[in-house]
Symmetry: D2
Subunit: 345 residues, 4 copies
């Protein structure tokens, strides 16, 4: 059994990591921490895990359970993450960090969109944990920076096009729609049920902090600068991200050709599925699963290629991909513990 | 009292017309028809209107109630509408048709996206009922073609930019998100609660029949050809459309300048409100109201101008605008009966 | 114009009072207060009221706007309400208080379920504002204690039976289901969208503070002690309460007889509607309206009479009834400003 | 591998059986049938099962796939089920039928609430598949009649009380709240999103066909007649049933004593969990899981015991319990393939 700890286990991604650990045949949790619920039984706070996890929540500062772990998942907000990760690295733990703190190669970009970076020395060795694109590097990483939810949906949707140099790199628009769990479990007015329900809204138009993360990764694929306009929206549902991505083709291709290119690109990636032409995915076909489903359409009238991708923001967009990365790092079958089909309806 | 009839009163837009008629101080319903519920009391089918409307549903073929009316709202599906409108016109009725049947100047475009047109002779005199843009023509129209819900949200958002020649007319993307009532009250699998709830999906990507309607109207404003890529999405909520529109600026302007331009453009239009810079509207701020709220953002990094507009698809996007048009045609105050603020939460 | 002030205008009932005031032909708001938003324009905080209410939020401690008002609505949490009401009474204002602070005749009961009462001298003259039952007293009241949302639904459902001595007074069960706005606008974990959505739960089983309020009022109707078991539930929707009430008949009657008894009891009450036998109301037929719809069923197998009532918790269960009471106190038509039919869907 | 077939696999319970089969380590599907989708790939109709189930839907009349199966799940509507089950029994298949057709011992009761029974000869040997109560009989059954969703929630909640003779058997009220998938996947107006969303309603008050099923089973436990008043409600969520059950105690007991009695009663039942005193379950703590969580409260003021139970109607209330029964029949660990914790949020 692989021994794992979760630091910050009472937010939505932390809780999801607990749920997935319970389902994983080779994982044993040695410690789960939560400042808010320290001292309480997991099952007392989350009745759905009653008897599934029998340990108590510990304070984040308590080190014992963590010290027994081989793998540590850090599910803290950014800034807090970089205050605990360096010590874990020193202790020789394998670390999968779900915050933004170790996703950027260049600390200046991080500092431009977030705040001062307090552990920039770790950035060089941190591996960006988009499993399909960095599988080989992840295998040997000590620190994996798990991607943001929106970047996962957008990068997977664009990688085949950019890798094959098929689109105008300065003319990409990503319009994404997210369920409310994407806003986290912070207790704020704007996340109250009656504020959010029965409404859809845009936010941080062209100013969301996931933009530079997408641009960094897409530029690495392109080997030149990619700029992208990104607009996130909030949709009244618990889970799910749908990204609608508008690109301008730089070559003429048929839908069939593009479809095949996607299928080939992801032929060894169990969690990426390409939809038949003319069908468009709903987030509810990936809800509760680790899949990313992608659909492509060419609008010959405007010479544009529209890509639609869907993920569950807490699974492929968060904790599911973290477990996928753990599987890769531990040499397990990549699907282990996360191969459930979606819960529908 | 203005005497009005509603043909097709048991769908969502038809029902909304009944609800609005009840609230209108100068409207008396002489007849409401529904094939499905003919012979039943309105309050029996829709308990919320119990004692508010005391007449029975009539068959659509029954002419008596209609013959007493001065105004007739036709809330039938397209194709059915054009089978009843010609006769109403001959009888001298003022007609507001909520279908697509009389929205196109060129029957060939209609026939390309819908079906054969059986009353093309009426197209020339039909006035496109986007109240803010065609107020003067609507005043004297006998037949008003009430706009589609998506076109209302998109055209209002783009008109000031196009009228002032500020954007690239071949580089417009409209990504719209609609509540489920937009799909109508047809009993189909894809509209069942458990199919739709907790999911968001794209549909008819780049192939929705509202595209040519938007292009026709935007081209008329531009006085040259406008082409636009339109993608609609379905969101799990009852009402509301949010359109996120991506344009490329052909002139350099500041956000303040654009904001003022919008404010001036709509300065006499009570139902169009421009949001302060940096704020983005939610559909829940217009739910149950006839407003269209518009927000603009410039992304200087990509030289794009993003416009976000929200409406209630059944009000400004349908029956509310129909009543607004009736008010204009009857010489009433444009707000009469439709000036309620949104229902929130 | 009647001059009115709202103290505590940024919660859901306070906001609803603003919305209703805008729609009321004879009301002018002189002041709206909110500690949280003091100094901000109403339209800045609530964009749906942009240009509808042009005054700013004031601090609750500021007295100027209130001093100009004839009527003051107090929409503060209990405890805070009784700290401001006594002064308003001294100033000669007519006060409609939406908290629980003045609903009890006996301060001991209040203190048993809430906290120490700091203005018990006002309890004697306060009138319980269930409009249909206390219309005459409300006419001349200076202080109206607006009923709780659950008590409104339950008392209206039971009054005809108890008044006519038809049921066992010690054998009443009220099982109520409420939308989330009933929990108020407090920023707490348990009201977050993702905590509440896609789940239904019971809370405060047999221990909710609305129980003694129901028992007080039902006992007054019965002229003897009534005891009732009340269980509230939280349902994932914005608005609405449905109460399912189980009683044991002490006389044999047919459903038709009971139906007629209800119709007679409420024959002069525009806002109470009795459903045809065999039909059961949904909260969505009263959403956004001030109606209470009631359905009765006799289960002859178990000799029980089941009453189902529905209201909008923010209208008939809160601010709508407050305006109804204001209409009664001001000598207006009882329906003024609150006679809209429900918003459906 | 156990070979299984599903007859009627495109409704919600049929689909859920496919999903669970995919997750079950010892099940191989030999055939899935659907009249509507015969000839189509499963993954084409349900994209979430793409590549998980590679066979096509067959017509129900096609026998080949079924003939290879050892176990057959019948997920047809009642009436249709009894037209296919007799032949399966003759062929020696083990059958788990999810309809109501084989749940009644007495065909007269079935015929009173449903329709004429066409295979009454099978009723005697059919075992009522409430796993916790009939485990021993299920082990050796050839035909298991899987319980209704409401009866599962209600019977599990009441069994310990009735078995121990603690309550008045003529004074039981069950008030249940169900998500919309409980209405099935039939395409009817009343199940449309916009009809159901944002509303809660009662239906079939005191007349629901699950009443006699509950009474039969509770009477068997009591060894005397139990009569119960049952009211179902529809709640705007996909999944989940919460039953609030009101009983009158015939003995005086403390909450602790009752709690222990429940814990003892279900001590060997992994899927039934008893909540700590003072806590009340939400359906979202069992969503996507096979658990039934039960909470008890004594209201000493009215001498009543209130039991609240929650299940996922498609799992413990349907397909999950069907797989649990299959595990029992096949001699597998009872939890196999259905031991996932709930999906939250």
């Amino acid at each position: 059994m692989l021994k794992a700890a979760i630091i910050g286990a009472s937010g939505y991604t932390g809780f999801e990591l607990m749920r997935l650990s319970v389902q994983h045949p080779h994982v044993e949790l040695t410690s789960v921490s939560s400042e808010k619920f320290a001292g309480k039984k997991v099952g007392e706070v989350f009745p759905s895990l009653h008897d599934k996890i029998k340990i108590d929540f510990k304070s984040i500062s308590e080190k014992k359970g963590v010290s027994k772990a081989d793998f540590v998942f850090v599910a803290l907000p950014h800034k807090e993450a970089m205050s605990v990760v360096p010590q874990l690295i020193k202790l020789g733990k394998k670390v999968i960090d779900l915050s933004a703190d170790f996703r950027f190669n260049d600390p200046a970009i991080y500092e431009n969109w977030y705040q001062k970076h307090t552990a920039p020395e770790l950035l060089q060795d941190a591996v960006y944990g988009l499993s399909e694109l960095y599988r080989e590097k992840i295998k040997n990483a000590q620190l994996v920076a798990n991607p943001g939810c929106y970047p996962t949906a957008v990068i997977l949707a664009l990688a085949p096009l950019i890798k094959n140099d098929l689109i105008d790199l300065n003319n990409i628009i990503a319009d994404a729609k997210s369920g409310v769990s994407g806003a986290g479990r912070s207790v704020v007015l704007s996340s109250l049920f009656a504020e959010v329900n029965e409404g859809v809204k845009a936010y941080k138009v062209a100013k969301h902090q996931h933009s530079p993360e997408m641009e960094q990764e897409l530029s690495l694929i392109a080997q030149k600068n990619v700029s992208l306009l990104f607009t996130p929206h909030l949709v009244p549902m618990n889970r799910g991200i749908l990204a609608t991505i508008y690109t301008t083709m730089s070559k003429e291709m048929s839908e069939d050709e593009v479809l095949n290119l996607y299928k080939n690109f992801y032929q060894n990636d169990i969690f990426v599925r390409i939809c038949p032409l003319g069908t468009f995915p709903s987030t509810n076909q990936v809800k509760g699963s680790n899949y990313c489903d992608i659909s492509i359409t060419i609008d010959s009238r405007t010479n544009r290629l529209v890509v639609v991708s869907v993920i569950d923001n807490l699974l492929k967009g968060g904790s599911g991909q973290a477990v996928q990365n753990m599987n890769i790092m531990a040499g397990f079958n990549e699907e282990l513990g996360i191969n459930q089909p979606a819960l529908f309806p």
